[in-house]
């Protein structure tokens, strides 16, 4: 090969088709370094729907997601909640750093409208993060529809599902199981694209307040607290 051609091929603006781009899927850091290390691409995937499975609300799912939401809110991006199971308590969300004026809370009444709102929000590029709650089974067709909508919209998508077993299959590319554990949250990466499932991950919320996530063995339960205060009669 002539040197002239070699020089040309070294040119920085020339791309050769046998080289793959180095950048992986676009992601957003979750705010949990230990989790980012396990997620493909190093964070929550953008333009995709991530499935979080929990046995019921209140296992620590908000603590997992709020750092990423806070970051988006600071950038002035919109966050959409579709049918949360309880009232998102504004003082706590604000304390976690979420910019409240960026949050939109949708409460559709029927499951059909819920799916519609979820799909349309995922499809809308101006919605940077869409969190949808769903109880019970969801047909694969609907899952794929939502996945396609998320692909088109390009934001973060989370489907928080309760009322199903952790092992049930779903067509979504990233699936995490959440379980409350004394002192924090145990995360199981049930399915991730390109990598085998990892061992359970323990996110220590207490330690996290200093800004470091710990990966440690899941602690053994239980951790009994002190006995309940005996009710005292109210002085008249």
């Amino acid at each position: 090969m002539s040197t002239a051609l070699n020089t040309l091929l070294q040119h920085r603006e020339l791309w050769r088709a046998n080289r793959l781009s180095q950048t992986g899927p676009a992601t957003l850091p979750s705010g949990w370094p230990a989790l980012d290390a396990e997620l493909p691409g190093g964070g929550w995937p953008l333009a995709a729907l991530t499935e979080l499975r929990l046995d019921q609300a209140g296992v620590g799912e908000l603590g997992l997601l709020l750092p990423a939401l806070a970051r988006l809110g600071r950038e002035g991006r919109r966050i959409v909640l579709v049918a949360p199971p309880h009232i998102p308590y504004a003082p706590a969300w604000q304390a976690a750093g979420v910019v409240l004026s960026r949050v939109l809370w949708l409460s559709p009444t029927t499951s059909r409208e819920r799916l519609w709102a979820l799909e349309q929000s995922l499809r809308e590029p101006s919605c940077a993060a869409v969190l949808g709650w769903w109880t019970g089974p969801l047909p694969d067709v609907q899952c794929r529809r939502l996945q396609l909508a998320a692909n088109a919209g390009g934001g973060l998508g989370f489907l928080l599902r309760t009322g199903m077993t952790a092992s049930a299959a779903s067509p979504l590319h990233l699936r995490l199981g959440l379980e409350a554990t004394p002192g924090g949250l145990t995360l199981r990466l049930l399915k991730r694209q390109g990598l085998p499932p990892a061992r359970p991950l323990f996110l220590n919320y207490r330690e996290e307040e200093s800004g470091h996530a710990l990966v440690s063995p899941v602690p053994a339960r239980p951790a009994p607290g002190r006995p309940v205060a005996r009710p005292r009669p109210v002085p008249a």
Binding site: P84, P88, W93, W105, E113, S126
Partner: protein, 463 residues
């Protein structure tokens, strides 16, 4: 179609079925009935035809500034000046065809010629021919039948009696003789058509308000028919707005029913828009949300107030597809889910936990809105780090088991009580001791003991 003229009803524009039975254009109604007993005649409505023509003229104002009406059935557009802008004649022609088809005009007759009358006659004769050279006009026009001429029936009959069928035969005759026999108008028309005489025409001026009524030929109760009507209506409205640089933020459609009084449907677009597609999307959601009370026969729209169009500043490297349309999205949510299903998050300065939040304005989540709400500091709502992410809509009474509050598991109190005693001034006093409690599962709860009844309640979940 029946037309009332001297001596009774005459058949106009029979459809294919009627034609197959031998009914012909220009036949008497009685004669047609003799051939097809089940003939269903529709009365011709000249006023409605005029309205349609004017609506179409208004729509075509987007292609040129000079449109003139040729009642009852034609429009003349001066497109010489617009060709460059629209990228040539074929491109303009495609846009016209597509636009007409969208409005439901099937098989329109279009013709293009250097003079208005030549184009008009070509179109009336059904010749879809493009003539660009004025020198070719005598030859092209010569092939047209004499019936395209604007003549009274008597003059037409006498032309026929003279054996004149084509314009070429007419053009070959001396003009003085023609003027004597048929009056000066015929010669003048011919000269104008050939470009030998000037042909000034009054331009169509669009009215300043948008009033339109579209009729369905039958009462329809399915969404498809109404979507179709909406598509037509919004295409016209968008063209109307485009020409004036205006936009609408909301509008009210009036639906007419067979027997019931008309019903109204309000559509809000969330922002000033002139985009027919956006309006149609909102209309689709509105139809999906609420069923029709009765079959619809017609749909009307009156708009007198408009707003100026706002063009948001754009980055040079901005990709509109990635930015999305937040206002339109929000308007669709609002239309489909209802106003009550949308809310934002907001803090309220109140010590009572159930009053320290409220559903904020959903519009606050739009980009460009102010960032902080007046109560956003949350100072009065207590130490925020002790508040749970989920609040229960109603505090849930907790039973006691072995003197511990129970919620699927035994609850162990953590830390010290936070006494909240407030609201004695507005009739909803609370006196509660709040605790953070943990279960063996690792879940954390926000529970309180009412100081009055000493009962335990679950009020929130730390998630």
């Amino acid at each position: 179609m029946l037309e009332r003229r001297a001596g009774g009803d005459w058949v106009r524009a029979p459809n294919a079925t009627a034609q197959a039975l031998g009914v012909q254009e220009g036949m008497k109604h009685a004669a047609a009935l003799a051939r097809a007993g089940a003939l269903h005649g529709l009365r011709r409505q000249p006023a409605r035809e005029r309205e349609t023509l004017e609506a179409l003229a208004e729509w075509s104002l987007q292609f040129t500034a000079l449109v003139s009406l040729e009642p009852p059935d034609a429009l003349v557009l001066e497109i010489g000046g617009s060709l460059r802008y629209f990228g040539g004649l074929p491109a303009l022609r495609r846009r016209l065809d597509a636009g007409l088809a969208e409005q439901g005009f099937t098989a329109p007759q279009l013709a293009c010629a250097p003079t208005p009358l030549a184009a008009l006659w070509q179109a009336r004769a059904g010749r879809d021919e493009t003539v660009l050279d004025a020198a070719a006009l005598p030859e092209v026009l010569g092939r047209l039948p004499v019936t395209v001429l604007p003549l009274a029936d008597k003059a037409r009959a006498s032309l026929e009696a003279l054996g004149l069928r084509r314009l070429s035969e007419l053009l070959a005759l001396p003009s003085s003789g023609l003027a004597r026999r048929f009056g000066p108008v015929l010669g003048q028309s011919l000269a104008r058509a050939l470009g030998q005489a000037p042909d000034p025409r009054p331009g169509f001026e669009a009215p300043a308000c948008f009033v339109r009524r579209l009729e369905l030929g039958w009462p329809a109760s399915d969404g498809e028919a109404l979507l179709f009507l909406g598509r037509r209506l919004f295409a016209e409205l968008a063209a109307f707005l485009d020409r004036r640089g205006l936009a609408v933020q909301a509008l009210c459609l009036e639906l007419e029913h067979d027997r019931d009084p008309p019903s109204r449907r309000a559509l809000g677009f969330g922002q000033a828009t002139a985009c027919a597609q956006a309006m149609l999307l909102i209309w689709r959601e509105e139809l999906a949300r609420q069923a029709l009370p009765a079959p619809v026969t017609a749909m009307g729209l009156r708009l007198r107030e408009f707003c100026e169009r706002q063009a948001p500043p754009r980055d040079l490297f901005d990709d509109p597809a990635r930015r999305g349309e937040p206002a339109l999205w929000l308007a669709r949510m609002r239309t489909r889910l209802g106003e009550a299903a949308l809310g934002g998050l907001d803090c309220v300065a109140d010590h009572r936990p159930e009053r320290a939040w409220r559903r904020g304005e959903p519009d606050a989540a739009l980009p460009g809105m102010r960032d902080a709400s007046p109560n956003a500091d949350g100072a009065a709502s207590g130490p925020a780090e002790t508040r749970p992410g989920w609040l229960l809509a109603e505090p849930e009474p907790l039973p006691l088991r072995e003197e511990r509050p129970w919620h699927g598991e035994a609850l162990f109190l953590e830390g010290r009580a936070e006494r909240i005693e407030s609201g004695w001034w507005d009739g909803e006093p609370v006196r509660r001791d709040y605790y953070r409690a943990a279960g063996p599962s690792g879940r954390h709860y926000w529970i309180y003991q009412d100081r009055q009844s000493l009962a335990w309640f679950l009020h929130g979940l730390f998630a």
